[in-house]
Amino acid sequence: MKDSQKKPLLHVVKDWIDERTGLIKAGAEFLHEEIPGGTRFSYTLGSACMFLLSIQIITGIWQLFYYVPTVDYAYSSLNYLRLQVPFGWLIHGIHYWGGTLFAIIVGLHCLRVFIWGSYKKPREMVWLVGIVLIVLTALFMFTGPVLPWDKDGYFAGQVGIGIAGSVPIVGPITQAILQGANKMGQLALLRMYVLHVAILPAAIGGFVMLHLVAFRQYGESGPWDEKKRKKVGYFWPEQIFKDVVVTFLIFLLLVYLSAFFPAPFSGLADPKDTLVSPKPAWTFLFLYQILKFCPGPLEPLGTAGVPLIIILLFASLPFVDKSPEKNPFKRGFVVLSGFAFVGIVLYLTWLGYIYRSPAELAQMEPAVVQNVAQNENQKLALAARYEALVAANAGERKTGAELFKTLGCTECHTTTGVASNKQGPDLSSTKDNRSRQWIYTQLISPQTHNPHTIMPPFAQLSNQNVGLLVEYIESLTPPKTVAPPPPAPAAAGAPADASASAKYGEQLFNTVGCIQCHTITGHTSTKAGPDLIMAIQKDKPTADWLKTQLTNPQAHNPLSIMPSFSSRLTDDQMNAVIAFLSSLSTRAATPLAAGETEAAGSDQGSTPAGSSGQGVQATGIIGNADHGAILFHQNCIMCHGPHGNPMTPGFTGFMNGAPKGVPSLNPINRNVFNSDPQTFVEHIDQFIQHGAPALEAGGPSMPNFGESNTLTQAQIADLEAYILSVNGVDRTQIVNPGIEPKEFFYMLASLTSVIVMLAALYWFMMKLLKI
């Protein structure tokens, strides 16, 4: 230290630190490792794992800046991160593909060590710690996909936790700890989250240190051929150079995959969804497939036995295969068994990958869907369900009448005994004398009776509620005194009694479809149109203005979605409706019921009365267009036609002839269309949530799928994504990419080639010109 004054400052600082910590010396020692037999690219797999682990930690932490681990917001927060945050697509993409690549490279690393015989004495601990790391990796791959709370992750998590629960003895308590509640929900999500971002990273960090320390005790085992071992290579810089090259190529691959093959948007998790066939992450597909060979009492063998046997087999390898021989050609039995194991795992993974459940196959072949509904077995199953239901409902308080009103049945059906111009028949008619069971089937699967019916299935209702509705509908009989049809006003002029006319107008208002979009309560509503007490008292329109609005709404507002009523109201009826509307200028607002709050203006405008229980509305969810296509086939095709085009040649809809006045969704009205996916979705959302009146007299009206809970918000989001897709708009379009994914990849790739070319140029100049 005498001559420390002469040293450059950097060295002084270095020496000062080293004297007190020994870090620099330890670092130098770490770098100056000798590698028997020289450096190799096949030795880079371990470093590649280290790189991937580091990048998973960085991108994982970064996602925590936006990710919210609640069932309401997990999916939306991740979608926001992926579509609206600069480079969110890249951070998430790298994490998504990094996990996959990590599993592959850990597998290759393990295989390399196996072939080289590097698990043998004295390196048994490295091998054993490696097995712990593989188990931790599996736990990462299990907990991670649950976090987006999308359809794939939700069901994979549910099944995975269920499998943990089926293990003998320790299963139930494991399941309770993993799930935190008696079913998959908020607590399960938080537990998966804490495992994935806190407990498992801490554990893997510790075991990786142990793995490295144990490895460096004896270093690389080198080639099995004694002659080749004589040559000596060095960790720094030769092996590190190879490691860095491979690492960089992996990074480029990650960017490529993120840009060209983004993770799917599988749609918000929806516990009621019956269309999803849960499948685990691809790393578990071989176990998933093995489970199929273990029916009934053998199940615990598949769920717990096989994984345990595999782990024990791996762990015992260095103790069973004790000979010091490392040459794989002289360890025929062990190496061949190893390859057989890999082969079986790959084959089972493939089988698991291509496996499609019968339900999925049915979705792929649309025609099958209807056949399934008409299947005799299904009818029997429905009948059995009905019997159970009747038993369960015995003695229940009857609120079927309330349900009938609140679920939206009145949008299409009357119960007055008078034929109406609504879509559905009057239900008090006893003409057809339907059985309870028939009504039950009609409610939950109307297509069973008529494949072309426009009626939406109410399969989402609880058994009890369906039962109440069945009882209510069954109890309906035509009223003894049928209300006389409203008196046709004298052709000569307006009726003398203005209030009678207004009363007739109110009847018309309630039957021709106005109430589908408007309320008359004096409070802001969630329907598509304004509340008419509020609007009329505010704007005080004249009778002429109202008449124009009824006959040609677009004259006042070219973008109005209100249909013209000129073809379905006679002049007298029109006048009656106008008289009714004018009378609203003096009508007081109806008092709000207890617990009811005023809808808070346009900001919450799309909140339906009863949401699916998920706090997020469909417009805030990135739907899954493929899933939406199936839902479209089940709920919309009877009116809107194949792929949303009612003009499709040969399509006849639910009636004889093409449905009247049904708007085409493909292509959709230009006023509704928007190239911005969010705006587009907001335009179509209100129709799906709240329904809309028929555009032409005698044509079908749009049911209120959201308001009636016929579809969940998650399903509506999927349908909306599908409708956007047939109009050429991608719901998953990246709003704020930072740099466009593909451009970013091309940029990185070209800069890389520049660096490679410069290095090559320098090398040649050095070699050839001896500079």
């Binding site: 917001y73 480079f87 890249l90 004896y218 000596v232 810089p237 150079f241 960089f248 990074f251 930072g738």
Partner: protein, 180 residues
């Protein structure tokens, strides 16, 4: 940490040159990799400019009912604050001095020194900040303490007798009134 004595590395100038070349390329690749990662990681954290943008004029209920001349702490009507994918309802508090039915002064409740909430001392008719002792008169002028500028007034309008205020935040601790 290996058990045998290290083999000395070749000191042949050509080998050294080759080693240095490899070191250089390794450093270049690592540097490029770090840049390619750092750039997205930093961009990811920079908020977009419209996050939490300035709001609209909010009604201040009960303005017609408050006394003239006395500073009154009031609350605006509900506003929505949308950050990322979550929209929350917020209200803001403000100090209002009503001069007439159509004239008022509206102050932000935050002290321009370090954003503490100050109070009105009705015995001395001054605004006094409890944190660091700044004192302001009813005109907003700082008459004691460390505050670098007068109280921050907020834009308002009075329509049909009702007060509407546009809520804003200003940078604390500097003599200029600049929106935060």
């Amino acid at each position: 940490m290996t058990n045998h004595t290290p083999t000395p590395r070749s000191q042949d100038p050509e080998d050294i040159q080759k080693r240095d070349f490899i070191k250089g390329v390794t450093a270049a690749i690592l540097g490029f990799l770090s840049l390619a990662l750092t750039w997205p990681l930093v961009s990811f954290l920079i908020p977009s400019s419209n996050e939490g943008a300035a709001g609209k004029f909010l009604k201040v209920p009960n303005f017609p009912k408050i006394p003239t001349g006395t500073p009154t702490r009031m609350t605006t009507a509900e506003d929505v604050d949308t950050q990322a994918f979550i929209t929350t309802k917020v209200v803001y508090d403000i100090w209002v001095i009503k001069h007439a039915a159509d004239k008022a002064t509206v102050y932000s409740t935050l002290c321009p020194h370090l954003n503490c909430r100050y109070n009105f001392d009705s015995t001395k008719d001054v605004f006094a900040c409890p944190c660091h002792g700044s004192v302001f008169n009813e005109d907003g002028k700082c008459i004691a303490g460390p505050a670098p500028r007068p109280l921050d007034t907020l834009p308002y309008k009075i329509e049909g007798g009702e007060l509407y205020v546009q809520y804003k935040l200003f940078k604390a601790g500097i003599p200029e009134k600049i929106e935060a």
